[in-house]
């Protein structure tokens, strides 16, 4: 007889059979099986069988269908309904398909008709049952480990969210007080200021503003990472909105000697946008452009039809600044990426702004890209869906990774 695969060197078997002759035959079949030694405990009654099976000390239980006045099927059901037990193989008399099916449904691992029993079939059935039980236990163990890891992740996520909530409160409350009192002094509510005092307070005001932007960027990133940054795009016109956004940035541009201009195709229809978020994108792109444009330069904000896709509108922010080297251009939308080289003016920042812009545009169902050459300025393009293509807005889970620079026919 060939050695049965998987069998361990020693296998503990519980045999529940009320017929002593049958039990003796089963025992004899399991002696001298190559590759393992069977240690067999035999019990002949339902109650003794139940007691032994509940102890779960064996590698496999062989259970006869007939146990005096009671049935092995009842014993199987009773044991299976309770705690863990070894894999159970039913030993049937004559083939009774409906009984067999019922046994398998009730928790038996396998069955062997007594008439067909041989040393090899029995040893193989035991080996398979033991192996199957082991695999099932492994699967269950892994499942449990995964569930525990998942619970731990959920808990950690909640902890981080709570921390961010507290952090937001603790950073923004003092910042509010600081920027408000600076505003109060600049407004002259606390008395007149001389030129020097005004200048210094304006520096503090500017610092408060950049701190505020950085804090907001950090929280946007945390929301993006937990999938909680949502946008609510609504139909809106760009004809009023764009000049408003540009107007708020004009004083800063004027201070730097940069011209800001806005070119809007008057025929473009309503687009789908979350006004607050698109304002954030534009402000970020224009502020970036100002950072890299020298005095006397021009920044142009444009809105027109997208000639490559009739369902979209194309917006762009172009500058006459120093441009972006190809190496930087490929990575500029990456999270935490910062452009810094000897040709750039000092540019503080967290390296989050363009990444956030990209994510916000994706949440609107659009794409963002850049075209630039060193010394020739840069143009950032992004698309917004027209309001009539409403069903096309993707939600966050459907975001793709279309963040590479793309050739744009507008340029």
């Amino acid at each position: 007889m060939m050695a049965t695969p998987y069998l361990q060197p020693s296998t503990r078997v519980l045999l529940v059979d009320d017929n002593e002759d049958d039990a003796t035959i089963t025992r004899s079949l399991l002696t001298d099986v190559p590759g393992t030694r069977f240690e067999i405990d035999w019990v002949s009654s339902y109650d003794a069988g139940l007691k032994m099976m509940q102890l779960n000390r064996h590698d496999v239980d062989l259970l006869d269908f007939r146990l005096g006045k009671r049935s092995g099927l009842d014993l199987l059901r009773e044991v299976h309904a309770q705690a863990d037990h070894a894999p159970i193989i039913m030993l049937t008399g004559q083939g009774n398909e409906s009984l067999v099916a019922e046994a398998i449904r009730s928790g038996a691992t396998d069955y062997i008709p007594k008439g067909l029993i041989s040393s090899e079939t029995l040893a193989r059935a035991i080996a398979h049952a033991v192996e199957k039980a082991k695999l099932q236990k492994n699967v269950l163990d892994h499942q449990m480990q995964l569930e525990q890891a998942n619970q731990e992740l959920v808990r950690k996520n909640e902890e981080i969210e709570r921390f961010y909530h507290v952090l937001a409160h603790e950073l923004k409350t003092p910042l509010t007080a600081a920027s408000e009192f600076v505003g109060i002094m600049l407004d002259g509510i606390a008395g007149p200021l001389n030129h020097e005092q005004r200048e210094y307070l304006q520096i503090v005001e500017g610092s408060c503003d950049s701190l505020k932007r950085n804090i907001n960027d950090l929280f946007d990133i945390s929301r993006l990472e937990t999938g909680k940054l949502n946008v609510s795009p609504k139909p809106d016109t760009l004809q009023n909105f764009l000049p408003q956004v540009v107007a708020t940035l004009k004083p800063v541009a004027q201070d730097k000697g940069i011209t800001l201009q806005c070119l809007i195709d008057p025929t473009i229809p309503e687009v789908l946008m979350d006004e607050q978020r698109i304002r954030q994108v534009l402000t970020n792109l224009i502020a970036n452009a100002m950072k890299f444009t020298r005095k006397g330069g021009t920044i142009t904000i444009k809105a027109s039809e997208d000639s490559t896709n009739s369902k979209q509108v194309m917006m762009s922010v172009s500058d006459t600044g120093i441009g972006i080297l190809p190496d930087h251009r490929n990575r500029i939308f990456e999270r935490l990426y910062q452009v810094s080289n000897d040709d750039s003016p000092a540019c503080a920042g967290l390296g989050l702004g363009l990444f956030i812009c990209q994510e916000l545009i994706k949440l609107h169902g659009g794409t963002i890209s850049v075209l630039s050459a060193p010394g020739e300025g840069s143009t950032f393009f992004f698309t917004l869906l027209k309001a009539k293509s409403l069903p096309c807005v993707r939600n966050e889970s459907e975001r793709n990774t279309n963040n590479d620079e793309t050739d744009n026919p507008h340029c």
């Binding site: 950073l171 923004k172 003092p174 910042l175 408000e180 109060i184 909680k228």
Partner: protein
């Protein structure tokens, strides 16, 4: 014309002081409560023209206070503007669903806040979601 009164419910004394200075300069009468309970008492005692309401305060949540103010016939028509430093998800939506007029995140732009205050006092039942 009688002065419009604004009740500031806010636990940070510096922010209270800043709002008070700014709003008094705009000729509003100011009442202050440093927690939600005091806010409820002051709003019920002398209903103000408008309430500026913080959300995260010790001893009571601004959202719960807004809910109670909107339940009482004495205070239900008072416009409420939330001012919060919290970044909790869905907070804006939850706050506005309670019938608040507007929701501002700290640090706020005072000019924008003041424009909203003026509009809310003039039209107490509108919702300005800026």
């Amino acid at each position: 014309m009688m002065k419009q009164t604004i009740l500031i419910v806010e636990d940070d004394e510096h922010i209270v002081k800043a709002l008070e200075l700014r709003l008094r300069a705009k000729d509003y009468g100011i009442e202050v409560a440093y927690d939600a309970l005091m806010g409820m008492q002051k709003a019920m005692g002398h209903p103000p023209s408008l309430i500026l309401l913080d959300i995260t305060m010790p001893g009571g949540n601004g959202l719960r206070l807004a809910e109670r103010l909107k339940e009482s016939s004495k205070t239900m028509d008072i416009p409420i503007i939330f001012l919060t430093a919290s970044k909790q998800a869905d907070l804006r939506q939850n706050a506005l669903s309670l019938g608040a007029t507007a929701f501002f995140e700290k640090p706020y732009d005072f000019e924008e806040l003041h424009a909203t205050i003026k509009a809310a006092i003039l039209h107490p039942n509108i919702c300005l979601t800026s």
